[in-house]
Symmetry: D2
Subunit: 152 residues, 4 copies
């Protein structure tokens, strides 16, 4: 059973951060992905895809993006349903993100990075759990290779 989604688009607004009782971070957001084709009126429409991200990744995403940020995300499609206050069942489809990448150029971020940077959505971060975030970029050098070093 395979369930994999990859999206590149822009955040429709800031990531909403929340914490579970056990202290786990959860971020929810919507990513607008422009369609590759235009509609009958010649307009380019977008899909507005809801997504959630858990743990450290939620905090990272919230800290390094804002409304309009261009991001790439990977995850799985999740469906769930619940009964609302009116007693009717509501069906939800959303993407559970487990990895994301900031695709904004340097100037659009805080200037501390020189290119897109990846963040795992779920683990392998060595900051303490649920602490205010340290800068994941500190010390994180990037490629500095020349053409001559390229194997082709």
């Amino acid at each position: 059973m395979i369930n994999r989604v990859v999206l590149v688009g822009r955040l429709t607004k800031e990531v909403e951060l929340r914490y579970t009782q056990s202290g786990k971070a959860a971020g929810s957001f919507t990513i607008a992905v422009n369609r590759q084709f235009t509609n009958q009126q010649g307009e380019r429409e977008a899909d507005f895809i809801n997504a959630v991200i858990w743990g450290k990744g939620a905090e990272n995403l919230a800290n390094f993006t804002h409304k309009g940020s261009l991001v790439g995300v990977e995850g799985r499609v999740q469906t769930r349903n619940y009964e609302n206050q009116q007693g009717t069942r509501v069906y939800v489809t959303e993407v559970v993100v487990d990895n994301f990448s900031l695709l904004e150029p340097k100037s659009a971020n805080d200037g501390r990075q020189s290119q897109p940077v990846n963040h795992s959505g779920q683990n392998n971060f060595n900051t303490p759990n649920n602490q205010p975030m340290n800068d994941p970029f500190t010390g994180g050098r990037d490629i500095d290779i020349t053409d001559e070093q390229l194997p082709f």
Copy 2:
């Protein structure tokens, strides 16, 4: 802007085929994808993901699958919304499939194929054996819905 989904799972029921006024086939179905982890009760849950497929691919998918068929699909996540009879806006997220693959072993299908077979969801693909397709629906079926009536 990238929007790509890959799913492998089982059809929850037969594909529902419909035709637009212009004669274009549209198939709608739900694919159940078991999650890789179990819930608090130790049960394995599934995501039930709604999907649509257009054109010849819709007919092929309908013709070569049944409830429970194991299929792989590729497509994009689409969101749309409409106003229902009660005047409230309904938001829909579904996968628009543009390629699929039958993953059932030979015996589980009708015997006309010996391995997983691919079908494009959008172009003019033939039957698995590259025979001109014997389409039982063309002409012989009511074409009584409009594009506007289609729920996608």
Copy 3:
């Protein structure tokens, strides 16, 4: 930076299991993925894609598949190069698998499962490291929060 691959195909032969000095399992295999189109001679060709899988997942894959097994895999494309015995540089492109799914029907496996089953390729298995495999299906509880605690 996003790098994601999803493949469904058949193993060209059994997974080759090896262990690093530190005892970490590594499995290498080739997956044959039939193309969706035929060549000029009307033949259906395949891509033979090399892959590696690390850790417990390598052992699981090796244990539950054989030559010809239909599998789905997810991973990333990795390139690397090395100097061979003749002193020429060899360039390698392969898929590093971090998740896989057995797509064979029950009878083709050992009978303990009734449907495709997922295995993580790299982590989150709660058996001791590098021990002969326990049954990956036993137990394995997961997150323990309720829907009410969820922020959506």
Copy 4:
């Protein structure tokens, strides 16, 4: 049978455009995708993934990118092999791109677009503004290679 790849990374150099005898464009390029993790020396490495794109998409990609451009691509993993001059068989793995997206901000391109733009790798897409494309290569370039000479 499913074979799908999504990559976001930077072009290691300009796209190399060639034309078959029949006039079909073929572009070859390498995309550098930074890994999400660092190696033992704490350096962030990259995968250098070879890719090809056919038809109008090849021309579009060549026209709207340069060395270092950030792009997203979708495609399939292809393997092929040929005998080199020394009579030894060479095995090649590359991505055949059928869709791409420019992820550079406006200023990084030539100013004719205001956001990431999608181009199909296979169909007849126009320029980003839906203007008939001003293709400087059509007719004006040597068409002096055969399909057989193309390395893919």
